[in-house]
């Protein structure tokens, strides 16, 4: 029983990391209908910005909660800037082109960032500075909970709620929904669509940056290709939940994290990565729009 509950805890913590990355995926898709493949690389950049800023500001020598917040802030800002640039230079010029062009560009941007990372950061793994060290681990009987993981789960959940709030309760959110509903119509109504799309990218990328720092803290080994697998898995999680849906992305990510955990724990650990895609295929066969997706027709 203890083992089962421990697996449950591990699965939630893994899922909450996927969730942070998946939220950004889903937002960008919701507004642009674009799968931003470079999202995983923004996450990687976030981890490296955290690595350098944490060390530069000396938080690795005197860990504190403030250190974590500052590192998170720096990373999120740097990543939202990166998201802004990616959108401006790689995607905006192609907005009127066929969807496939922009998709290929996204793959290109992703590779560009990966190998630039290798160039600038070196490809040997780096040890992420422990900018925040909560006291020990929480022990409940034989259960072990790393407070950091609770933090990540909490951060993911609150980010989800914040996003929901932004999308449904603010003017920016309303503009986002309008742009996602009909790009041209929104512009006719006087909505600055370009700016809205930039905002969306910045918000999504900032989330990825936060995820990069938190992952670096929990799994302190970072390298330029660290974004590939989490990026793919989070993408799967977003589709599982119904892409374009914030709650769906969160639920899909937790679901995927738990599924992976239990497959490794009670079954064949070699099938971990295959599993994510088996789930994806099954869900899409049964419910093509994902768990929370709404039936609709593709606008052509």
């Amino acid at each position: 029983m203890t083992e089962f509950v421990q697996h449950l805890i591990n699965g939630f913590s893994l899922g909450s990391i996927y969730a942070l990355v998946a939220l950004g995926y889903t937002m960008v898709f919701g507004v642009l209908q674009l799968i931003n493949f470079a999202h995983g690389e923004v996450f990687m950049t976030g981890a490296f910005v955290g690595y350098y800023s944490g060390r530069f500001l000396g938080f690795d020598r005197s860990p504190s909660f403030v250190g974590l917040l500052v590192t998170l802030g720096v990373s999120m800002m740097a990543c939202s800037l990166l998201g802004l640039l990616i959108e401006k230079f790689a995607y905006r010029p192609l907005r009127r082109q066929p969807r496939i062009n922009i998709l290929i560009t996204a793959v290109g941007v992703s590779l560009l960032l990966q190998f630039s990372g290798q160039l600038f950061f070196g490809s040997d793994p780096k040890f992420f500075p422990q900018v925040y060290k909560p006291e020990g681990t929480w022990e409940i009987g034989d259960l072990r909970i790393n407070p950091l993981q609770v933090n990540v789960l909490f951060v993911s959940l609150s980010m989800m709620l914040v996003l929901q709030y932004i999308i449904f309760k603010t003017r920016v959110g309303r503009a986002m929904r309008a742009v996602s509903f009909d790009h041209d119509l929104a512009r006719l109504m006087g909505i600055p669509t370009d700016r809205v799309i930039s905002w969306t990218f910045m918000l999504g990328s900032a989330l990825a940056g936060a995820a990069g720092v938190l992952v670096g803290l929990i799994y302190p080994k970072i390298e330029p290709f660290m974004g590939i697998v989490p990026g793919l898995k989070s993408f799967v999680a977003a589709i599982l939940g119904g892409i374009g849906n914030v709650t769906g992305a969160f639920v899909g990510a937790i679901f995927l994290g738990l599924a992976e955990e239990f497959v490794v724990g009670y079954g064949a650990s070699t099938y971990r990565d295959a599993l994510a895609f088996i789930f994806l295929i099954v869900v899409l066969l049964i419910k093509p729009t994902g768990l929370f997706g709404r039936a609709g027709s593709e606008k052509v």
Binding site: E3, H7, S13, G122, D124, P125, R144, P220
Partner: protein
Amino acid sequence: MSKRDMTVGTLLPINIGIGALAQIFGMMGLFCLIMTSGCTKKQTFEADNSDYIKVGEVGSMTGAEATFGISTHRGILLAFDEINKSGGIKGKKLKVVSLDDQGKPEEAATAITKLITQDKVVAVIGEVASSRSIAMAPIAQQNKIPMISPSSTNPKVTELGEYIFRVCFIDPFQGLVMARFAYENLKIKKVAVLRDSKNDYSVGLSDVFTESFKKVGGAIVEDKSYSAGDIDFKSQLTSIAAKNPEAIYVPGYYTDVGLIARQARELGIKVPLLGGDGWDSPKLKEIGGDNINGSYLSNHYSTEDQSPHVQRFIQSYKGLHNEAPDGLAALGYDAAKILAEALLRTTDESSPALRLAIAQTKNFQGVTGLITIDEKRNATKSAVVLKVDQGEFKYQTTIKP
């Protein structure tokens, strides 16, 4: 339209078709293709000069296991410098042409092809990792160029042809060493295994250890696997913890072992981890921190060995790089020295003659012990067991074949 027309939580009504997904996954395929075709960097290049004997080297100078390649390279350079200072080989100086494989088997194959066909090297030293040596060996064999692996321990490596040698022991021995040490010295009866299923070295060593440990009388209570590059090992470790082993055998590379140790301690697993020479890197303690203390690894040599030739090597290395040489550096040094010594003994400059000279290496006094190349082109020699203590590798015992 009012806000309520939207289902709460739905950002937009869409329908991803299977066709669109197929396109995406097509992209992924393309993406993977691009990922695997890098390019090899050349580190030294000079016009072909007949005053030199060119020796090739393939190693992971960059990538996840960069310390392996860098240490080995430094060991080789040190050996060649010493030989060149003492007059070289029959009046010619030795020169190493070093290529980086970024830690990828396919890159290693490309690199050795280039060394043989374009750089016309007389022999190749490399690789550290068994999976990469296995990718290189058929090419060396096909071109009849001797290849000496400093530290690939998987038995398959030298079975790939008569031109493939190694100067280290093989996994059947390394696995046995740890099995015997755990059972006899640590009095451990129950061990769990955690293997890297993507890595020839790790899989071979896990199998051998399992077999040997059962043979000496122990039990394997759990066998789980991960893939190199994973960052989350908690599910495997949780399952392992539930079986209450007295030790966990993790014959992986240092990059993953550091994280595994960290997460094991987080889950309250206090038993020692056991491993092999793949742990041997200064990075192990950087990533693992205090969590790796109290664990044991089998290795090729110990810096605490007081023999004069070992201490002399350590001093020269320290003088150049300000750090103690790890086992990989020592093996790189030995591989280079054995090759040089064979070059001295060859009757003519042909590959078959050089191959024969390497095969006849007997009782060569290397840093990592007395090296004799046996008929299977492997080195028979002792292994040492080291304990990680405050980030240092402390000598425990030597186990002879």
